[in-house]
Symmetry: C2
DNA sequence: TTAATGTCTCTAGCTACTGTAGCTTCAAGA
DNA sequence: TCTTGAAGCTACAGTAGCTAGAGACATTAA
């Protein structure tokens, strides 16, 4: 049996994140030791690894919840899991296209900055006037820019 | 003078978002009409357009705050604005690389799903076992998957 | 005048965590 | 056996960047 710290290390997930996952019901409530500490078995590690991996691939926690419940019933046809992955793929393709055009735009902005004063800095100029844009980057970002 | 609704339409920003920007000090407090409604002039529209455009390009509100204060002092050298844009560009390139490898992975996953039952669905299998991954997608996502 | 629309403030909620405070438990060494 | 330090516990607050809703007031067109 693993403590929460060991589990986190093994799965590559931070301890508060594991507790958070339990809190929101993504992971089942853990067994407890005599001193009220969480204890995890191999299966819990598999499940957490699954979650981390899916997060890395960009799945939302809701999608992961669905995938987990699917994998808990392995006799059903896998169309549902496939659909979730496909949705995710479409989403990623959209983001890729968007980011590519942003990159073009920023590259152009940076290249045009002649190193003068702000009064003639193209970076600020382009940001103030959409019509100076070369690329047509859409209207809403929809993702946090971290 | 524009009401908040007209301003929002003109700049392509939702009304609550404008109030939010004012609340966090990104936009100055607006003038008020006799009936306590916000009124905006042309300059406010420029500023809001700048903000929206920068948000679309993935700048954080903090970075935008910096850019705005730079553009308020147009006699300084533009190195700072340039640096912000470059940081942003590097960030976008990282995200692009990451998303590309995610796309490869998901495409592979979806292609391998043979349409059978979940017991042998590669989507779930790949998510449960990192060693099955073709691409080396890093450790942390750092962006909300919307 | 009336109805519809717009605006006001305030509060709470969203995602996916992260950090803090103040306490308890555990394992290893003296 | 005692001590010490790391790791664990709960509970709550905070992060970004908004979005949604309630209930009241303002404006405008018919």
């Amino acid at each position: 049996m693993l403590t929460i710290g060991k589990l986190g290390q093994a799965a590559g997930v931070k301890v508060p994140t594991i507790r958070y996952y339990e809190q929101i019901g993504l992971l089942p409530e853990a067994e407890r030791s005599g001193g009220n500490q969480r204890l995890y078995c191999r299966k819990a590690l598999d499940r957490l690894t699954f979650v981390r991996h899916a997060r890395e691939l960009g799945f939302t926690l809701d999608a992961i919840r669905d995938l987990l419940s699917l994998s808990d019933h392995p006799d059903q046809p896998c169309a549902a899991a496939d659909a979730i992955a496909k949705t995710q793929l479409a989403e990623i393709e959209k983001r890729l296209a968007r980011l590519s055009s942003l990159k073009v735009e920023l590259t152009r902005m940076v290249a045009q900055c002649a190193g003068g004063s702000i009064a003639d800095c193209r970076v600020i100029e382009v940001l103030g006037d959409h019509s100076l844009c070369a690329a047509d980057h859409g209207h809403r970002e929809g993702e946090g820019a971290s």
